[in-house]
Amino acid sequence: MNITAAESEDTLVEQAKKGNRAAFEELVRRISRLIFARLYLETGDVHRAEDLLQETLLSAFRALPKLADASRFRPWLLAIAQNVAADAARFESRKKRDSSRLSSAEELGRIPSKEPPPQQELEQQELRAKVLAVLRGLPDEYRLPLTLRYISGADYDTICEQLRLSNGSLRGLLHRGMNRLRTELERLNVFSAAD
């Protein structure tokens, strides 16, 4: 655990609670990819994840003064993300139920493109779904670094920052996570099927 980083994050949270935008934005920089990763695992859709991330951050900023313990900022934010994702899912299912009420823009977004995606792309999609399923099955501490790396496109240092982990502790998590992912994928013959 990087103690100085933790302290500064708490300070930032305190500042943000007082309405300091810059502090909150710094927090956003530090943490948004992590939440993005979480949301992506939830939704499996990069655009939706980004929308939900935005919503989460907005909600968080509004509710920030209500946060009592600054050190609980991360779990709190993740909980908000969870709620946002759940709300969105609920809203989504309700919208599906009465699809007639879809607004035209949403409808347009839903209409699949006229041309069918090429075979390769279809396969990729299928593969992605499988890998995602495997990732979802992993414990949080393993899947988050992996999601951060492969989906939110974070480099090593960014992963450290986002997870508030030291370089060393990330190594182990990454290693074990990678190994578990590999074994799972091999067990399910995910990549060999594609070959």
Partner: protein, 880 residues
């Protein structure tokens, strides 16, 4: 071997780039030796690559954090605007629902309370809005600040964002300096001005170029003095002043002379003079004047007297930068020249090099010359301002005369056409006019016309016109003046040539001219023939003439008379007095030659009075005691008011129902007297106005007569006005019945029926019917009532029967000695009653509930929907 474990542990980090450079080196070294690790790295890298490429399309577009922050700024700014508004809306809707329901429920107890609540609600609403306004004002406040120098591009972005979002989120009391600073940053232009001195308006590019000249003065010449003080360009500013002016002058040459003089006064000179002769013989030219810049404005002022200033345009151009640039380049070129010269002087190097240098030198000299030329050009422009004058001569029209011709058209009405004709001819002769056409015509029926066309000199036209006015009534006088100019645009002061005035005179008499105004009168008279003669007499007196063909001797009923206009009003008044005026119409013919105002036409129709229907017909029903006597009295009454009995009819075939009918015409003013007489004879049962059947010939009605159609009927045949039904419990029925019958007889009432039933059980009923006059009825009934206990009493009034002294009242009296029966209400009845009461209240409550629900349900639904929208818009619930 510990290296191997370490490597195995850090393999993924190695692939992911998480190792420090030293560790990396270490790892690479180990990898070189260890085949296992090489394999492992290969596999890991393989998987890493696969995963990377697999999710390549799923990665967010770079700059995720920045986008988030951006979105956060903009969306929260939006939300802050929307949220309070929605909240307010919700509040107001809720209040509305509450108050509506309350109002609906409390509507009957009193509306005052409801109004009070409504007012309170409004006040609350207003206060909310006021708060908001205050908040807004706060937000838009601009104060001087210290942060203006701070913001760099990124910083600025951040500041703006924080301003956008932070302000609504901050508690109202908390206004941190940072917040204010960012507010101010948000309004850069305001800040900019705030920094400047208050009294100075924002600088414009023009102002800055004028070097201290006050901005906002569009015409520099308005303050030449100030300009001059600023003129010596101490600051080294190089400004070119140019101007253009356009003048319209009387003469080009003299204008140029004046310009030369003025320019010389101002120490300037005339650079060029161009002039050309235009097709219309005018000269147009341009004069270019050069003058020292500080004299430019005085020059402009002086030149204004040159002629009509049509256009003026003064500009200045700041060429300081250009000038200094040129100077710099020139300096550089000179230095280079010097250096090259030095090289040549020293004579070092090969011939070829020297030649090259020589060539270069030539190039530089050329450049120097051109630069010098350019600088000279600008210096010249700066040293002397250029003023271009465009001068042209005024466009004068050629002195071609404008010819004016006047045409006069005169129409004269006169009795003696021939005399007027001769007079006109004589007067034209007198005025030495020229007659172009003259004719005199006599038509049938005494109609004469004359036409004269002539020309006279314009001087004598006026007097001739006046003379013609004496000859008769001028019915028409058209004068038109046509001026014909030699050129298309005649000038106001061009000489005018007046041509002879042409007259077109037509003279005519009025014998055949119909009057313009015609009065159509229809009269009703007792003796139409006498009236006819009377009218003729009147017409003669008024100097009127009977229009030929207008008199209808056969029927002696209509005639047409024309009367001179001045006596027409009197004639009309007298005419109306001769009989009863039925209709009077006025017809105005169009004001043309065929009609004249000097006469008024009367078309008169006469009607026999007796043949006309009266205007008002009244149908009466008169009830009398004795029809025959009443009939006679009625005839007498009609005679008494000079009425005319049109028809009368008396029938007594049916003795029980004798009727008579009589139709009488009576003068309107005798109506009241007749009505009184009628009232004396009997009672008027009904009265109606009888609609007159429309017939073809007789559409006129005489308003002075009223026709009465009277039906006379016997009073006894009318039903009773009042019917009393009284049931009285008396101890002794028979005796009471006898007593009451006597009472009725004493009041001259009639006993219609009298029955007494005596039953074996001693009960006695008596049924009596009396007819009495209505005036006595009340006292009689009271006396009846006093005889015993009243069981029931009803009084019916028949409104169809007239309520007069002849009105009758019928009394049905039932006497009985039967005892009163106690209440017949049993337990069942009482139960039934209370049940029905309970049912009524239950039903009432349900109904009220339904009404209340119906009143409030739509509002509740709206409120619910709004609430859902609000929920959905606002962020999902925060941390659990």
């Amino acid at each position: 071997m510990s290296d191997h474990y370490w490597a195995q542990e850090n393999l993924t980090s190695y692939v992911a780039g998480g190792l420090t450079p030293e560790e990396r080196e270490l790892f690479d070294n180990h990898l070189f030796e260890c085949l296992d690790c090489q394999e492992a790295v290969k596999r890991t890298r393989d998987l890493d690559d696969r995963l990377m490429s697999l999710f390549a399309s799923e990665k967010p577009i770079p700059g995720l954090e920045d986008r988030m922050i951006q979105a956060l700024r903009s969306s929260s700014a939006q939300a802050t605007v929307r949220l309070p508004f929605l909240g307010r809306l919700m509040l107001s809707v809720a209040a509305l629902v509450l108050f509506t329901v309350l109002g609906a429920l409390l509507s009957s107890p009193g509306s005052v309370q409801r109004n009070a609540t409504a007012d309170r609600a409004l006040m609350a609403f207003g206060s909310v809005e006021r708060d908001d306004a205050a908040l807004d004002a706060k937000e838009y406040m601009v104060e001087p600040l210290e942060e203006i120098t701070v913001p760099g591009p990124t910083n600025a972005l951040e500041n703006r964002g924080s301003n956008d979002v932070a302000s609504p989120f901050l508690p109202p009391g908390l206004s941190s300096p940072e917040k204010e600073a960012s507010h101010q940053y948000f309004k850069p232009e305001q800040l900019f001005f705030a920094q400047m001195p208050k009294d100075q308006p924002p600088p414009s590019p023009e102002a800055s170029s004028k070097n201290g000249a006050k901005p906002g003065a569009p015409k520099p010449q308005t303050e030449p003095a100030q300009k001059e003080t600023n003129r010596p360009d101490s600051s080294g500013r190089k400004i070119i002043y140019t101007g253009e002016m356009e003048f319209e002058v009387d003469q080009f040459e003299s204008a140029v002379e004046r310009v030369t003089k003025i320019v010389a006064e101002e120490k300037g000179f005339i650079a060029t003079v161009n002039s050309e002769k235009l097709p219309n013989g005018k000269v147009r030219g341009t004069v270019v004047v050069r003058v020292p810049p500080d004299r430019l404005h005085t020059l402009v002022l002086k030149l204004r007297g040159l002629g009509d200033l049509k256009r003026q345009h003064l500009t200045s151009r700041d060429v300081t930068k250009l000038y200094t640039d040129l100077e710099g380049r020139l300096r550089a070129a000179r230095t280079m020249e010097k250096r090259l010269l030095k090289i040549i002087e020293e004579g070092k190097g090969t011939i070829k090099d020297l030649l090259e240098v020589e060539k270069q030198l030539g190039e530089f000299r050329e450049r120097i010359e051109s630069l010098e030329g350019e600088i000279r050009y600008y210096s010249n422009l700066i040293a002397l301002s250029t003023l271009t004058l465009t001068i042209y001569e005024r466009q004068l029209e050629a002195a071609a005369a404008v010819t004016v011709t006047e045409n006069v058209q005169v129409g004269i009405e006169t009795d003696d056409v021939e005399k007027a004709y001769r007079e006109v001819l004589a007067s034209v002769e007198e005025a030495k006019g020229r007659i172009t056409k003259s004719e005199f015509k006599k038509h049938a029926g005494g109609q004469n016309t004359a036409v004269i066309h002539f020309e006279v000199s314009p001087e004598s036209a006026g007097s001739l016109r006046d003379r013609m006015k004496q000859m008769g009534r001028i019915s028409r006088l058209d004068m038109d003046r046509a001026s014909l100019a030699a050129s298309a645009t005649p000038l106001a002061n061009a000489p005018v040539k007046r041509k002879n005035t042409r007259f077109f005179v037509s003279i005519y008499n009025l014998a055949n001219v119909a009057p313009r105004q015609e009065v159509i009168v229809e009269l009703a008279a007792e003796n139409p023939l006498a009236v006819f003669e009377e009218i003729l007499k009147l017409a003669r007196k008024a100097g009127g003439q009977v229009v030929p063909g207008g008199r209808d001797e056969r029927t002696a009923q209509s005639l047409r008379i024309n009367v001179a206009a001045e006596s027409a009003d009197g004639f009309e008044l007298q005419l109306e007095k001769l009989g009863e005026l039925l209709t009077k119409r006025r017809v105005y013919h169009p004001d043309t030659d065929q009609y004249t105002d000097t006469k008024r036409g009367f078309a008169i129709r006469l009607f026999d009075f007796s043949q006309l229907q009266p205007g008002e017909n009244l149908g009466l029903k008169l009830a009398v005691e004795d029809v025959a006597a009443g009939f006679g009295k009625l005839k007498d009454a009609a005679k008494g008011v000079n009425g005319r009995v049109i028809s009368s009819q008396f029938s007594d075939r049916d003795q029980s129902n004798i009727t008579a009918k009589i139709t009488i015409d009576i003068d309107r003013d005798k109506r009241d007297a007749f009505r009184d007489a009628l009232n004396r004879i009997g009672g008027i049962v009904s009265q109606e106005a009888i609609a007159q059947a429309k017939t073809q010939q007789q559409t006129y009605k005489v308003e002075t007569k009223v026709r009465y159609v009277i039906d006379v009927i016997a009073q006894s045949s009318l039903p009773a006005r009042q019917t009393h039904q009284i049931t009285i419990e008396v101890p002794n029925v028979v005796e009471t019945a006898k007593r009451l019958s006597d009472l009725v007889k004493a009041e001259s009432g009639q006993i219609i029926k009298s029955e007494i039933h005596q039953r074996p059980d001693g009960e006695t009923d008596a049924s009596l019917v009396f007819d009495v006059s209505q005036a006595d009825a009340a006292s009689l009934v009271q006396q009846f009532k006093d005889t015993g206990k009243i069981r029931s009493e009803t009084i019916n009034t028949n409104p169809k029967v007239p309520d007069n002294q002849l009105a009758r009242a019928r009394i049905h009296l039932t006497l009985s000695n039967r005892p009163l029966v106690p209440s017949d209400k049993g337990l069942t009845d009482q139960m039934h009653e209370s049940l029905s009461k309970s049912y009524f209240w239950l039903w009432w409550s349900i109904r009220m509930i339904i009404v209340g629900l119906a009143a409030s349900l739509p509002w509740l639904v709206i409120a619910f929907i709004l609430y859902r929208i609000f929920r959905r818009r606002s962020e999902p619930s925060t941390a659990s």
